[in-house]
């Protein structure tokens, strides 16, 4: 170990998943891939401390258990694959509404804040959910297929916004993606989760290691 990283995950294990070891430096994006059912979402959920697990997870040297759960989840924020809304209007879900500039970066008009959630498209909802999460200024972002409902233009906008946030805030990003092209676009490093076990994805030009 080389001291505390932005995110350190050691021996993370749940029923049928793990052990998973990974670490992320500030400003770094690790893309997690693997077949459906391999437990990618469950790994993110365990890191956000939403599911029971063993092993240790810490953010900038602070273990999850050392913080109250809400405080931990504000530092290590997860974005679910389907965005969820529980009030009628969009702005009722924000403590402080995002600036018009940030909204424009995702091609969202400022008038959408006053709109009823039911009138938004699933893509608009997904992009707004990302802004809602970023408003917490998380130190680590756990993104579960964040661009699944988006058209190519908006996929690019989300990737850019996340990259900017990562650079500005020095945040680390753990990104689950099915799209091989997206993986090469956003990843600094990649990791593959197979049948619950994590292994290293060979970098382009690198040979796959013999199974241990």
């Amino acid at each position: 170990m080389t001291g505390a990283h932005q995110l350190d995950v050691l021996g993370l294990r749940m029923e049928g998943v793990g052990p998973v070891d990974l670490w992320l430096a500030g400003g770094e994006c690790l893309v997690l891939s693997g077949p459906s059912g391999a437990g990618k979402t469950r790994v993110l959920r365990a890191i956000a401390d939403l599911d029971v697990h063993t092993g240790s997870v810490s953010c900038e040297g602070v273990a999850a258990e050392a913080l109250a759960p809400p405080a931990w989840r504000r530092r290590v924020g997860m974005l679910g694959a389907d965005s969820q809304w529980w009030r009628d209007r969009v702005d009722e879900h924000f403590d402080a509404p995002p600036t018009a500039e940030t909204m424009a970066a995702l091609d969202l008009g400022p008038e959408l804040l006053q709109a009823p959630v039911a009138r938004l498209s699933s893509g608009e909802r997904q992009r707004l959910a990302l802004l809602r999460l970023l408003a917490n200024r998380p130190r680590v972002l756990l993104l579960d297929e964040p661009t699944a409902n988006l058209d190519p233009d908006n996929v690019a906008r989300v990737e850019t916004l996340v990259a900017h946030y990562m650079a500005d805030a020095g945040a680390a990003v753990l990104w689950v993606s099915h799209d091989p092209l997206q993986r090469t676009r956003v990843a600094h490093r990649q990791m593959r989760l197979d049948a619950g076990r994590a292994g290293r994805e060979p970098a382009p030009g690198e040979r796959r290691e013999a199974p241990g």
Partner: protein, 263 residues
């Protein structure tokens, strides 16, 4: 007072049999349970009549306490037996019994000692019917509250967890659901109170009047009982929903639906 015999009651029982026949015709799938419930009602009430006759004669605290405990246990069972998604283990039953015990016994004992004041305070002729009415209504409130809670959490788990992911404390993430469930448990009693006397003549008052009590005296008792029922139902429902909410989250504020049966 007109006394009822086997013949008169048999005529009334025809109505239950007719209901079962109609339910069968309409394929409601409940005619069997309806007949069984009818038969249970007759047997249970006859037995209770005998038990009460014996206990009224004895008037000992131990006997009254024994009957009261049996009543709470049965109420706890009935309140949680037909839940769609009960908690695993004995948790639903335990929460039902515990909260009903606290709310109804507190109200009943206070009423007996402070308001009614029979000597001794546990005089079975007052204590048992009073507790029975409190339990019957609190049971409905607790059953509705708990059933609604486990179902809502099951259906709306994605929303609850999305709020947890945003760093909302568990209490806040389920505040809406918790309020809904408490309201659901209180509404039947609230409706009964609002409609009392106009839409419905409450059963206890009707019984007293049929048995020959002057209407104004019967009404005064009914007012007392209604107030007590509202108090016990509110306390029981709120407490049960609150305790169940705690049980469905752990110390790390994770939603633990694995603590429901069959999940």
């Amino acid at each position: 007072m007109i006394l009822l015999g086997a013949w008169e009651l048999s005529l009334a029982a025809l109505l239950v049999i007719a209901s079962a026949a109609l339910a069968w015709r309409l394929r409601l799938g409940i005619s069997g349970s309806l007949l069984i419930a009818g038969a249970r009602m007759v047997v249970q009430l006859l037995l209770v009549g005998l038990v009460l006759k014996a206990v009224f004669h004895q008037a000992e605290l131990a006997w009254v306490a024994l009957i009261a405990v049996a009543m709470v246990l049965v109420a706890g069972y009935e309140a949680t037996a037909r839940q769609k998604r009960p908690m695993a283990g004995l948790w639903s039953f335990g929460i039902g019994v515990g909260t009903m015990f606290l709310s109804t016994f507190a109200v009943a004992v206070l009423t007996l000692t402070v308001i009614l004041g029979p000597t001794p305070w546990y005089t079975p002729r007052y204590a048992i019917p009073l507790l029975g009415m409190l339990l019957g209504n609190t049971m409905t409130g607790v059953a509705l509250g708990l059933d609604r809670l486990t179902q809502s959490l099951w259906e709306r788990r994605a929303v609850v967890e999305a709020r947890l992911m945003l760093g909302h404390p568990a209490r806040e993430a389920i505040a809406d659901i918790r309020r809904d469930c408490m309201r659901a448990g209180m509404i039947p009693t609230l409706n009964a109170m609002a409609a009392a006397g106009i839409v419905s003549l409450p059963g206890m008052m009707t019984g007293q009047i049929l048995a020959g009590t002057p209407p104004v005296e019967a009404v005064k008792y009914q007012i007392l009982i209604m107030c007590l029922i509202m108090g016990a139902t509110t306390a029981g429902t709120a407490l049960a929903v609150q305790v169940a909410c705690r049980r469905l989250f752990d110390t790390r504020e994770r939603l633990r639906l694995d603590r429901l049966k069959g999940s």
